[in-house]
């Protein structure tokens, strides 16, 4: 599904430049659950942003489902993103002004799905995440675990092929964290590809494979048994 070859990303400021990704290579197969680990500043998040088409690389190749997307413009990226990719963030990033239902509904609105269809799909996914009873609440009224469940619900409502999770349990206690990891594992078992950045060895163990990064490169891959 994803094939990255010799990917380079350099951040420049007026005084200095930082190489975030240095000739990185990575392949993720359809249906895989990959955890990315590494110390702060090793380029994990940059990688995730490029995978999520939120950022573009300076050089190298990025094949998404066999299509070269490294040179896509904003519009193309946005369109690809909303159809195929779901995001889960460490800080949930729910929109405070929207209710649970509306937060989850938002990707479908941007996809142009009809209202009746939207309702059906949102209810379906809320039910699956067991937060149906909270659908009229606003994010501030929920616990961290519940918020993250909403975030996951939002990420999967448009049935993406790929879920990108950036330290999804980083702001949660362990029991809530485990719940979220169970959710992701379930999704993966139903066929969704997942790439997760994490600092937690515990969380990483839920994945099929751990990619370890250092200084913008992959240094090691552990296959989980």
């Amino acid at each position: 599904m994803i094939k990255i070859t010799n990917l380079v990303k350099v951040y420049r400021t007026e005084e200095m430049q930082t190489t975030a990704l240095n000739q990185l290579n990575l392949e993720v197969k359809e249906g895989e659950f990959v955890a990315v680990m590494g110390p702060s500043g090793c380029g994990k998040s940059t990688l995730l942003n490029i995978l999520g088409l939120l950022d573009d690389p300076d050089s190298g190749s990025f094949l998404f489902n066999g299509i070269e997307v490294a040179n896509f413009n904003e519009r193309q990226r946005s369109s690809l993103r909303k159809q195929h990719i779901g995001f889960v963030f460490q800080s949930f990033n729910l929109i405070d002004e929207l209710s649970v239902f509306e937060n989850v509904e938002l990707p479908l609105i941007y996809l142009g799905v009809k209202e009746s269809e939207r309702r059906k799909r949102v209810e379906e996914v809320l039910d699956k995440m067991q937060i149906m009873h909270r659908q009229k609440h606003f994010p501030q009224q929920l616990s961290g675990g519940q918020q993250q469940r909403v975030a996951v619900a939002r990420a999967v409502v448009n049935k993406p092929h790929l879920i990108l999770a950036d330290e999804p349990t980083g702001n949660l206690d362990s029991s809530n964290g485990n719940e979220v990891m169970e959710l992701l594992t379930d999704l993966n078992e139903q066929g969704t590809t997942i790439v997760m950045v994490t600092h937690s060895e515990h969380d990483a163990r839920y994945s099929h494979r751990i990619v370890r990064m250092l200084d913008g490169q992959t240094v090691l891959t552990d296959i989980m048994v």
Partner: protein, 807 residues
Amino acid sequence: MLKNYFKSAYRSLLKQKSFSFLNIAGLTFGLTACLLIALFVWDEQQYDKFIPEGEQVYRVYIERTTVSEGTENMAFTPPMFATTLEQEFPEVEEALRFFNIQWKVLFEANGKQIYEGSGIAAESGFFEFFPLHFVFGSPKNALADPTSIVISTSLAERYFGTENPVGKEILIDNDPFQVKGVYQNNPKFHLAVDYIIPLQTMGFPEERMQSWTWQNLFTYVKVKKGVNGENLEAKFQKLVEQDVHPILKEGGMTYLPQFQPLENIHLYSADFKYDMAVRGNITYVKGLSLIALFILVIACFNFVNLATAKSLKRAKEVGVRKSIGASRNQLILQFLSESILLAFISVLISVLLTLLLLPWLNDFTGKQMALPVLNPLVLLLLVSLSIIVGVIAGLYPAMVLSGFQPVKVLKGGSAGNVQPGKIPWLRHGLVVLQFAVSVLLIISAIVVYQQVEFLNNKDLGFEKEQIMFFPMRGENMVGNYEAFKNQLLQSPGVSSVSIGYGFPGDMVAGDGIIVPRGGEHKRYSVTQLMVDHDYIKTLGVEVIAGRDFSKEITTDATEGFIINETAVKELGFGTPEEALGQPLHWEVWVDEPADSLKKGQVIGVVKDFHYKSLYDEVEPTVLQIFPPAFWKVAVKMKTADIAATLEHVKTTWNSFSPEYPLEYGFLDDSFEQMYKAEDKLRALLWIFTGMAIFVGCLGLFGLAAYAAERRKKEIGIRKVLGASVQNIVVLLSQDFVKLVLISLLIASPIAWYLMQGWLQDFAYRIDIGWWVFGLAGFAAVAIALLTVGFHAIKAALKNPVKNLRIE
């Protein structure tokens, strides 16, 4: 999709209450000012639009050129204009003349006596030119009979209430007239008259009605359909140049007739002399339109300013929306729906405010304006206004916000495009512009205030206080004015009485005076004050050479002239002392015998005194005793027991002219009336200054909020390192003080230039002192500090740990 936009827009407005409040307040404010001004401007352009075939109607006026006064536009025309236009030009369908009855006349009907001041004597075609709506009677032949009168509804109500007065009698100065019709007062008609009588009633002699030089009538002309007014004007001008100019040149004056389209009369006659039309001023209309536009743009700028300032807070939302698939256009639409919703709310509130303020504006402008909110066209306009304002205000913030990179904004607090050390030119520029306008207005307000104070307090060269003033009425009083005067003086409350023609603040006569010098008779144009022996004493005018008129010296009444200082210079007499004894001749104002000359000499010189407004320079003035012109009475009263004195004046009046009621005023009141326009300007300027300051503060408030937000980490670090609250407040405020100082630099020269121009209209004016700019600058800085201080102190008092933890 749209529903969703408006839903989230509505929620985010509720969420950020203070921000929404500021935005709505700013926009509402700007919109209300705009709506009020727009109503005024629209109303000003509605004059005479109700007249059918009005595009064929022109008013004829003259451009008069004299040596002493240059070229002036005058609404008065000679009678021969209409006659010639009708007889010589087949293009003309009809011409109309009327005479403005400028003085108050006594109306008596139904047991009521009232002095009426606004009437005309018109030719019978008046209602064909101006088909006013008749409530009673018919316009047909309404002015045919010399004793007929047509009155307005408001005049009719004063005497007859709501009943039909047609056929009833009204006595005008004891002459009977019969009411032929009642027309509805139309506030959109340029002639605000309450009664119309036939022109023939005035009894102008036939030879005067064939004059090219006696200019006392208003002339209108209606051309045939399809006739080009300008061509006709040119042809008529040519005729006047050929046939009339030779006659005119003898009198030292020439004129050219001009055609003014009916719809231009109200707005394009501001500088006309002797005009009686209800006049606006196109300059004010244009200036106000510009101000309205400016206020609206500034209010939109503030929205831009506040919204971009708040963008940091919304960056995360943008990141999230983008990461789940929102395209940039969708985000722009979302933010635009927010600003349109906001603009819509503001429009709603400002419509309410406008309705509330309209009575006040109507009072201030003397108009009867209304905002027909239920009119579909007005509704459509208001809705489009919301959309336009929403888009203008929201587009830039929407572009900025939607341009945020999700990668950057989702990571940390910074919106990504803010770089340290980079100056936000747009936002700073807007604040400078707004404050420049505020400073400009503050300076103007101070200058106007000073000038008005100057006008009110300048030594006029005479004492205008405690002088009761009224015209004589009735033959008995006019014929026995000496006896009347003596009886007035009987009261211990009356210190002196003067009867004459030419009192300060009242009408004065301009006429020629002849100076015989070395066999040559040179004619000068001067102001003639027809006075009695007590004029100088009553008004407290200072005699600087020679003496006042004296009753003991009988030749003073027949040969004495007193002139003012300006006349001494203009007539070439050298010094006041040298002027004494100089001969003067005057062509006496009587019809028989023609050309009789009053020959006399200068017996005294008075210090210049301002009998006209301070717009006009003191003119060369001649005072002489000429009883046939005596008309007005000035009674100088002592301060003690004024009530008793007034009672005495009334009793005396009734013993001479019981058939007329006494109507009096005070000289200082009529003098203040002359500066009414300046008083209104002063009030308006205060209002605009207040508005500009408020709007400017809104912008500054937004900018300060933004700066405090952006620098909160810096502030936290500084505080941890030991900075005091004052240090922080100074740190945050100094940038804004700089901006205000820049705006002061920009505004001062412009204000100086504009105010110098305004002051040029006054013959007597103040100098603009440097302290005015200092004061305006100080005020602006103080206001800015107060505004910024709120945020600066709030930021400075925050627990630094909170600010630092966010990163």
